[in-house]
Symmetry: C2
Subunit: 342 residues, 2 copies
């Protein structure tokens, strides 16, 4: 089991592994106020929908402590403003809102700082447990030896640990069934090249890096069994928002008869959005496409840089959550899955 986790709660402050510097440097940033936490989410110090959720929960703890200390009576005004700032740090991943909402329910119950901290720690621990459950559910679907393509980083680094899509790959590896994990490099931010390759290599899991453009050629010339990815938001009808390029990969998987699995906790499912068309898609700065981490590579032209895309439910064979498996997802199955165990 991987011990990699990008988030450390230190009682007085939060520590985040700066994912902008991986794999070259392993640097932990110390964050002791919610404004810094929100900026770290926007700037992608921490990324990945579940990890953003856990980080935001600790941000709520820091904000509540600060404002309660500042003014026992009027603390909610500044706190509520901070919550708006935090919720707006990135638009696509719903886990951010989910975690803030869960923390705010406790705030409304007038719990103590210690109880609020305990709630954030619970969210943190539940995320690791959810990843392991997803890993096992996902791995159980994959029969026999398998080569798997994944996109972006839906790994330990995108969660509190173990990972969603990479949790499935870890579990397949532990079963002894993983032939090869192929990591799309995932331009422009190179989460695949920098993060997925790094964390799988750290755990001794066989991984081969490919350019995003090589996935279909890989499917047509080598034996690929599955595509497994994470998600930033799943609509009520099963449409899946995830890192730009996921949709393309899903189209190509279907074209080649390769199965397509999405691994994401139920906190990623947003019953308030009917379909993928209603999911806000973040557009990031053109500079991310025009360069590679500060080094200019492109000619002086405009660039379009959507950070996510939407894969329609019709192209998704399985959604795996901590509650189990949804095959060929649709509105009814998603609703039933969310009610399960309630």
């Amino acid at each position: 089991m991987s011990e990699i986790s990008p988030i450390r709660w230190k009682a007085t402050h939060l520590e985040l592994l700066d994912q902008r510097l991986l794999p070259g440097e392993v640097v932990w940033l110390k964050l002791d106020d919610v404004t810094t936490v929100a900026k770290a989410i926007t700037d992608m110090v921490v990324r990945g929908a579940p990890a953003i959720g856990v980080t935001a929960a600790y941000g709520v703890v820091l904000a509540a402590r600060y404002h309660r200390q500042s003014s026992a009576q009027h603390w909610r005004r500044g706190f509520d403003q901070d919550m708006q700032l935090l919720a707006a740090a990135r638009p696509t991943a719903i886990n951010l809102k989910w975690a803030i909402d869960r923390m705010l329910q406790r705030v409304e119950q007038n719990v103590s700082d210690a109880e609020l901290e305990a709630e954030a720690i619970a969210i943190h621990q539940e995320d690791v447990a959810a990843c392991k459950a997803m890993g096992d559910y996902g791995a159980a679907l994959i029969e026999g030896d398998a080569s798997i393509i994944t996109h972006c980083n839906a790994g330990a680094l995108a969660t509190a640990g173990y990972g969603t899509a990479l949790g499935v790959i870890r579990s397949v590896f532990h079963q002894g069934n993983l032939v090869m994990a192929y990591a799309d490099e995932t331009r422009p931010w190179l989460q695949g090249a920098r993060l997925t390759a790094w964390e799988l290599a750290q755990d001794g899991i066989p991984v081969t890096l490919i350019a995003d453009s090589a996935a279909s050629h890989l499917m047509s010339t080598k034996h690929i069994d599955w595509v497994v990815v994470g998600s930033d938001r799943i609509a009520a009808n099963g449409d899946v928002a995830n890192k730009i390029g996921t949709y393309q990969l899903a189209i190509c998987a279907r074209h080649h008869g390769v199965k397509f699995m999405v691994a994401a906790p139920t906190s990623t499912i947003d019953l308030d959005v009917a379909s993928g068309a209603d999911i806000p898609i973040e557009e990031r700065a053109a500079e991310e496409v025009l360069g590679v981490f500060g080094t200019r590579i492109a000619a002086d032209v405009p660039a379009w840089n959507p950070a996510f895309d939407v894969t329609p439910a019709s192209l998704v064979d399985f959604i795996v959550t901590e509650k189990g498996v949804i095959e060929s997802p649709d509105k009814q199955k998603i609703a039933a899955h969310m009610r399960q165990g309630e």
Copy 2:
């Protein structure tokens, strides 16, 4: 009309625009022997199937001159060795072999150095003329205003001038019908970001750069009419080898009902290979994927770096050559097209 051309013949030597340094630096390299010419092709100083063909033709001129001067009697031994070296400089683009074969026919006729030089110049000039013909045939297919996605650089820089796919885009622009050209950045070598964006911007043609992974999201969220690409080799049955990622783009174009056009001179059509399965696909160094022009970006893992892929004829709506248009290409249509005008 664009005056951009990456190849200058200077009577005593050849000059090549070093495409590894664009768009940052415009540097011309002087080459006066065939070994250097072959290395320039291997190292991608010059790239693009038609440009490789023209370059090789001048390489034959330089080799013949050198060996004839060295030994009027025994010159063919060294010359033939050089021809093997030159032909092996890159494996996928058939235009390399086509140009060498055409030059060797003249050599077999015992023509003078001056006549051999004239043949290379003819190949050079015919390539520009072929590109303009293709541009017009391709543009005639595109009715009304159009937004077009292109991949890699099938432009003036990939030919003797004007370009194949970018020749079509140039002609659509000159007709006043181009809404936007979207350039895939084309990892790992970034021909789209560095070369296509640069040469279209030089000519004032509207261009927007996207990550390769964003093409499908672009097709599903904005109005895209066509994908237009070049080719490195077209098999007798119409299967198209082109830059890695072309196949993926063709699958996604078909999925969205976007038309897919391949613009390539008949010198790219290889009747000796029955289908795409018989086209050798060059695999280049892992370092190209693990880094960006010498800057390491990825974790320390293996990478798979096929430089080309094969798009089956069934996904190709049109092949456009200097002779005209082949709709829904197959073996019979390709054969008839090649006989045309003979």
